[in-house]
Assembly symmetry: C2
Homo-oligomer: 116 residues x 2
């Protein structure tokens, strides 16, 4: 195994053992084990994905759709378990972003060094 | 320092020391130290970025622009040092993608586990 593969696997393990990942896992399981919460969360996800896809394809998003999305967000935010899940997702996202910044530093330094 | 930060920094160091990263660095320096190659490479990058931005904003890309981009790619591919740099970039990209797949495995497993 290369040094990179070894380090990447150690990092994967550290993520798996982290407070952040386990907090997310607990919050996710709680929502998935509650039929109503699961349905609300799935609706929320699907609405988000639909809008993202439209945006990426350069399709227009109607006022109606924006309004629908706003309402779905409002509803899930009022649900304690889903709101908790979204917080935990944000924490793990932040963690992954921080890791990305660290491991792409060599590239940033290289491509930033001769600019301007 | 957390276990994650330690592992991420070890991974950063492994990338910095890798054959792939050092191959890219050499190829990049070679192009940057050759005035003509540098200009060609910068033109190529700018053309790519412009088209990407238009695409992301859902703007139409004209036939003329496609043709211009095609010619720029053709020109840089014929330049030995730039073509080498593009190959090395691809190798490092592949490496980073493999690392990403490894460290996001816990998330994939979590989100994949209750689908369907």
């Amino acid at each position: 195994m290369s040094a990179i593969q070894e380090s990447a696997q150690a990092l994967e393990q550290a993520i798996r053992n982290s407070e952040e990942f386990n907090g997310l896992k607990d919050a996710y399981d709680t929502v998935m084990n509650d039929e109503i919460a699961k349905k609300m969360f799935d609706d929320f996800r699907n609405t988000q994905l639909e809008l993202q896809q439209k945006q990426m394809q350069g399709e227009e998003i109607t006022e109606e759709e924006v309004e629908k999305a706003r309402k779905v967000v409002e509803t899930v935010q009022q649900h304690e378990q889903i709101s908790k899940l979204m917080e935990e997702e944000q924490r793990v996202n932040d963690l992954i972003n921080e890791i990305s910044r660290t491991i792409t530093k060599p590239l940033e330094e290289l491509y930033g060094s001769q600019e301007g």
